[in-house]
Symmetry: C2
Subunit: 209 residues, 2 copies
């Protein structure tokens, strides 16, 4: 599908780690982006390519777990692979519970890291696709007027036009008009489509694949 090269961000204050990972990543065919601190990473604009983040747990200033907390919510398209020199169990558990895809202790083999990145990139690709679909859906839903949203909400529960009209205190004819608008604006070819869209719109932000 997308021919953009996946980007692998590396945030580690140890320059030798950055350099060795740069080589590894470049040789594997991905685009490395090297940063020494969490702040530098946060200053970066969002990217649209599939990507992942190789993150050192202990960083000066904002540490790895704190950075994760900041970005995990909205950047579901950027899985995090933690690396650490002296990590302990509680730390790794916290990171995994917060959604990290991997937690590696140095030294780790090149193959392990490459496998982890490959996996993360794949997740990112899926998340990007999913996010794009959700954005599209939300945009359409946002283009509805207040009434149209209300009508849609009731229609997808299976209510008849007559009942929708009753609930909203308007006539069935008006409901039909709104309903038609909803179908057009949401680009739904059938009620079944609309129901599925409503399901996606109302379901929580994400779930781990």
């Amino acid at each position: 599908m997308s021919q953009t090269t996946p980007i692998v961000f590396v945030v580690d204050d140890d320059i030798s780690v950055r350099e060795s990972l740069e080589l590894l990543i470049r040789n594997a065919g991905w685009q490395p982006e090297l940063l020494a601190t969490a702040q530098e990473f946060l200053a970066r604009p969002r990217v649209l390519a599939p990507s992942c983040l190789v993150l050192d747990v202990s960083l000066p200033g904002l540490n790895g777990l704190e950075l994760q907390r900041r970005i995990a919510a909205d950047r579901t398209d950027m899985p995090i692979i933690f690396i650490t020199g002296h990590g302990d169990v509680p730390m790794s558990v916290q990171a995994m519970k917060a959604g990290a895809v991997e937690f590696l202790t140095k030294p780790f083999g090149d193959g392990v890291m490459l496998g982890a990145i490959r996996n993360a990139i794949e997740r990112s690709r899926n998340a990007l696709g999913h996010d794009a679909e959700m954005r599209e859906l939300r945009d359409r839903h946002a283009s509805l007027s207040r009434r149209e949203r209300q009508v849609m909400a009731l229609v997808v529960t299976g209510k008849l036009n007559k009942q929708v009209g009753g609930d909203l205190g308007i006539s069935e004819i008006t409901v039909k008009a709104h309903r038609g608008q909803v179908m057009r604006k949401m680009k739904a070819g059938s009620v079944a489509d609309l129901v599925k869209m409503a399901g996606k719109l109302s379901s929580p932000p994400a779930s781990r694949a």
Copy 2:
């Protein structure tokens, strides 16, 4: 809803651990079940109450991670809390990736354990409800005849009766008959209902809340 006391299974080969946890669990109002080995646990029949498993990683014979692999697939209603004396990071990461809800290193405070169990029981309760709903849905779906399943599959894509008939090579009238049967057997009050049911039936086994 259910007034059954939640059950907390403890699998640890150290009797002093079992006994101290027994006290802790009982005082918290749950039903402790103590076992020394993975085999003993597997020999137990499934329970229908909300439950969780406090599991030592290192056990004679089948170890904790192996036991997890055996039961994680079907026993989504029994979250696992790992405990360990000398756990390392890779071990904890593996356990968390496989779906453990917590990974505690000894010694841990009573409050930490109680909090973890409370959380796990809550998940179990949700999973039980979800599982029951899914079982119910699958039962209904299984009660459909071949044709009825085919008709249902096409109807939930938003196809008109006429189109369904065309696809299956039968008349629209027959489709209506099957469709009515489907609605009755699935206990769907509307097409919207049916679409939602189909969505749940076709979605993967579970997703972590």
